[in-house]
């Protein structure tokens, strides 16, 4: 009984321990349940923090729900906030599907806003051009500028194997400074850090624009950008699920060596995905300047491009799920401001992301309590 690790020694340590066991099969419903559970857990933790600092979590949450979904007016406002989140969320979800970590949606959004503004401010179209020409031109320019901002890290990744996380992160700063240069300099309106307001032809149609015919729509600021976002989500869902190209993306995302073996040109797809991803984020920027702000200014995005990362995660990279997650976060941004201008909403977002990442454990492993 002198051997190392005698039976008695082990018997004495008999107590409950948590054991992780690899899951062989993930039930179809589990990812949804895990997501819901993670969000609920995050809200619970946030509530505890709110209570700890002397707030009333239940009243706070009720207030959030009320000021985000309380009536048609605030629902409309929520959707306005959700629009750029859907588009940037799709941008992230698409890239993440191929395991390309594009965290540059913010910069791509800014470049899209700049590209759309350039159509009006350079101007690229003769003054007095009708909305039917101006809006498509701005849409195209916004997408193209965002796509260009995605092309750069895409090319660097595909040809030089450069880390896309660093490239996209850094390009965010370049884009922010690029916007600053134009709004402080060439496009400055009388020395202020914003441009002149766009002419009406450059405004995306809003529901409130129809108030003359349907008075009930008065004050509803939802704009056509929401339609862009919804169409993009459905289109992306179809492409990923049903198209040959979507199959290539799913295959590459799961196993790059298998994709190479199947004869897929990974470098080309990397660049293409980055461009579409950037383009979608660019579209979000276009929708913001043309649908909401109606001018270019430094503060167009309260970090939509970063929130989009969480949105894509909650949706588990499913384009249709992005819509739901974006609305949730749109509400949080809108109503969070009612509670505290900064701090609490960001805290809740952060806790949600951490809970989600932690919930992956549940998907991969079965958790068991065993007597050890």
């Amino acid at each position: 009984m002198t051997a190392a690790g005698s039976p008695q020694g082990v018997a004495a340590r008999s107590r409950r321990t948590v054991q992780l066991e690899r899951r062989l099969d993930v039930p179809r419903w589990l990812p949804y349940l895990a997501t819901l559970g993670a969000v609920a857990f995050a809200l619970l933790v946030s509530a505890m923090i709110l209570a700890a600092v002397g707030g009333d979590p239940i009243r706070s949450y009720l207030h959030i729900v009320d000021s985000a979904f309380g009536d048609i007016g605030v629902i409309s406002d929520t959707m306005v906030k959700a629009t750029p989140l859907i588009l940037t969320g799709l941008a992230c979800a698409l890239a993440f599907r191929m395991r390309l970590w594009n965290i540059g949606a913010e910069g791509q959004l800014l470049m899209g806003a700049w590209g759309a503004s350039a159509v009006v401010l350079v101007p690229l179209l003769p003054p007095g051009a009708p909305a039917l020409v101006v809006i498509p031109a701005m849409t195209l320019a916004g997408f193209a500028a965002g796509a260009l901002w995605g092309f750069i890290p895409g090319l660097l990744k595909a040809r030089l194997a450069m880390n896309e996380i660093i490239a996209t992160l850094m390009l965010n700063y370049v884009a922010a400074l690029w916007i600053a240069f134009w709004v402080f300099g060439p496009w400055s309106e009388g020395g202020f850090q914003l441009t002149a307001q766009f002419p009406r032809e450059a405004w995306l149609p809003r529901l409130t624009d129809l108030a003359a015919q349907v008075p009930a729509l008065g004050g509803l600021t939802v704009h056509l950008g929401l339609a862009f976002a919804l169409v993009a989500a459905v289109a992306l869902w179809f492409i990923l699920r049903r198209s040959r190209w979507g199959y290539e993306i799913r295959l590459t995302g799961d196993s790059p060596p298998a994709a190479r073996y199947a004869g897929i040109d990974i470098a080309r797809n990397t660049i293409a995905i980055f461009m579409i991803s950037g383009g979608l984020a660019g579209l979000a920027g276009m929708a913001e300047v043309s649908g909401v702000v109606h001018r270019l200014q430094q503060a167009i995005s309260p970090g939509y491009g970063f929130t989009a990362i969480i949105v894509a995660y909650i949706a588990r990279f499913n384009p249709l799920g992005v819509i739901v997650a974006a609305i949730l976060f749109g509400a949080l941004i809108l109503a969070g401001r009612e509670i505290q201008p900064a701090g609490v909403p960001g805290m809740i977002q952060g806790i949600v992301l951490f809970s989600l990442i932690a919930s992956e454990v549940v998907l991969r492993y079965r958790i068991r309590l065993v007597r050890g």
Binding site: G5, G246, Y247, R250, L251, D254, S255, P257, Y261, R366
Partner: protein, 524 residues
């Protein structure tokens, strides 16, 4: 404490070992004992639970139930360190050596002593003496990367002996060795048992087990089917029945060899491996329709690179013609278009996408064209129909075609890959280690499929480290060594001794019988 009447206590005694993994019982009440000074073979198919059992003995796993005694004393190991302290050393299939360090440094690695100053010269002598005592040929001062696989294995043995192991557990030690190296290993093992040490020899190769073991324990599906039977007087047939649980068919039936036109022609092909070192150094080969060309060689002599070059996955210099066309565009896509199918070495990493469904994995090569492709869209119902029919035809055992590929067993995954590759009706099939790690039933199925492709007139390159497999299936055999084809033989005229010698690089002045099918090939 001992259970039998002999005087010395058993070196290892296992009683009722149970080890469960999610979904399987790897060991189900296993008894095993090892007498001092014997070689005890643990025989069984892949997945029978042999390695699990020995990993328990070596302290890597903890059993869920059962007890274990070493030299008569009950033990319970919490880590491999405990097992080594008790004198048990295990040598795994994959060596744990640091390539840039010398043999002595590798042996000393992880020990408490020497504490600060290495005093390598002194230890070199110590190693040399220890090795010489057992007839192990190892130069203590050589760097590990300079050693052959057989020599590296000896370093692992030395490592365990230096740690005072009197029981050595060897997990499939011959898998990576050429025939001559196997002989050398067997001599070493006999020298060790003569000095009173005991050996557990894990294998699924019958001939080997009969050649080296004193006693044999056979496992099937986690249970012992024969416990410690004497090797003397046991036949291969008996062992096979115990191992598989049924009568094993002989080798696959083959029809006459009717070679057709040359499908693949390689001339002076050079290629580098992933580290940028030369892996193929001027390979010239011809493969004809209706023939299987076996590539025999010890692992790591350029076989993988040869397969990758032919299938468009690796750039090369030289000339490759497929069906008379020069393969200039060196891409996998191009090879697929030319009718080159590939059963890759790495089934889970390369041959399949683990988190995609069986359906998605089956359309990997067919998704670009009708009927699966419908313009830019994939016809999901056509894909599902194809998956259903292939699943039946190739007996892929899975709950449904939506099952994820990673949930398939090795044999079923290989059936999936073969179904996909053969369904593309290839003119050239490159099969790399197509049966490695499969059980006997699955091996038979794979062999039959390969022969059926040969009947259908495909040219096949069969790359395998299992010489028996190559000799059983191939029409011709080419031996590869350090990126060179050292000879090509008609299989009927091939001599195992000679092949083995070539596989280790020795030409030994043997007359190389270059097969007549290769006129005008610059002599290798």
């Amino acid at each position: 404490m001992t259970s039998d009447g002999s005087t010395a206590p058993l070196a290892i005694e296992l009683r009722g070992i149970v080890k469960r993994f999610p979904g399987v019982v790897a060991n189900d009440g296993v008894d095993f004992d090892l007498r001092p000074g014997e070689v005890h073979a643990l025989l069984g198919e892949n997945g029978a639970g042999k390695s699990t059992l020995m990993n328990i003995v070596a302290g890597l796993y903890r059993p869920d139930e059962g007890e274990m005694r070493v030299d008569g004393r009950p033990v319970r190991f919490r880590s491999p360190r405990d097992a080594i302290a008790a004198g048990l050393g295990m040598i795994h299939q994959h060596f744990a050596l640091v390539p840039s360090q010398t043999v002595t440094e590798n042996v000393l690695l992880g020990l408490d002593r020497p504490r600060f100053l290495l005093g390598l010269a002194k230890h070199d002598e110590e190693m040399a003496a220890l090795a010489a005592g057992l007839g192990l040929k190892v130069d203590p001062r050589a760097k590990v990367w300079q050693l052959s696989v057989g020599e590296q294995q000896r370093v692992e043995v030395l490592k365990m002996l230096y740690r005072g192991a009197h029981v050595l557990i060897m997990d499939e030690p011959t898998a990576v060795l050429a025939p001559q190296e196997v002989e050398e290993l067997f001599r070493t093992l006999r020298a060790m048992t003569a000095s009173g040490r005991s050996i557990v020899f894990i294998s699924h190769k019958l001939a080997e087990v009969l050649a080296i073991a004193d006693r044999i324990t056979v496992m099937r599906r986690g249970r012992v089917t024969a416990s410690g039977i004497a090797a003397a007087g046991t036949s291969k047939g008996d062992l096979a029945r115990l191992m598989v649980g049924r009568e094993v068919l002989g080798s696959v039936e083959r029809t006459m060899f009717r070679p057709g036109a040359v499908v693949l022609s390689m001339r002076d092909v050079h290629a580098e491996n992933d580290k940028g070192l030369p892996a193929l150094r001027g390979v010239s080969l011809d493969v004809r329709a209706g023939e299987i060309l076996g590539i025999a060689g010890v692992a790591g002599n350029g076989q993988s690179e040869l397969a990758q070059v032919v299938t468009g996955l690796r750039p090369f210099l030289g000339r490759i013609e497929i069906a008379g066309d020069v393969a200039e565009r060196r891409s996998a896509r191009d090879a697929i278009r030319r009718g080159v199918a590939h059963v890759p070495e790495d089934r889970t990493g390369v041959g399949s996408a683990p988190n995609l469904s069986i359906t998605d994995n089956l359309i990997m090569k067919a998704y670009r064209e009708a009927p699966i492709a419908h313009g830019w869209v994939i016809d999901v119902s056509a894909a599902r129909r194809m998956a259903e029919s292939l699943k039946d035809e190739y007996s892929i055992a899975a709950p449904s075609i939506d099952t994820l590929a990673r949930l398939l067993s090795g044999g079923n995954l290989q059936r999936l890959i073969l179904a996909r590759e053969i369904e593309s009706k290839p003119s050239l099939l490159v099969a790399v280690q197509p049966t490695r790690g499969l059980d006997v039933g699955a091996i038979e199925a794979v062999h039959r499929l390969l022969m059926a492709r040969r009947e259908a007139g495909a040219a096949t390159i069969l790359i395998s480290e299992d010489l028996d497999e190559i000799l059983g299936l191939s029409d011709r055999v080419a031996v590869i060594y350090e990126g060179l084809i050292l000879g090509t033989f008609d299989v009927a005229e091939a001599d195992v001794q000679e092949l083995g010698l070539l596989m280790t690089g020795g030409t030994g002045g043997l007359p190389l019988e270059v097969a007549p099918a290769l006129p005008g090939v610059p002599g290798a």
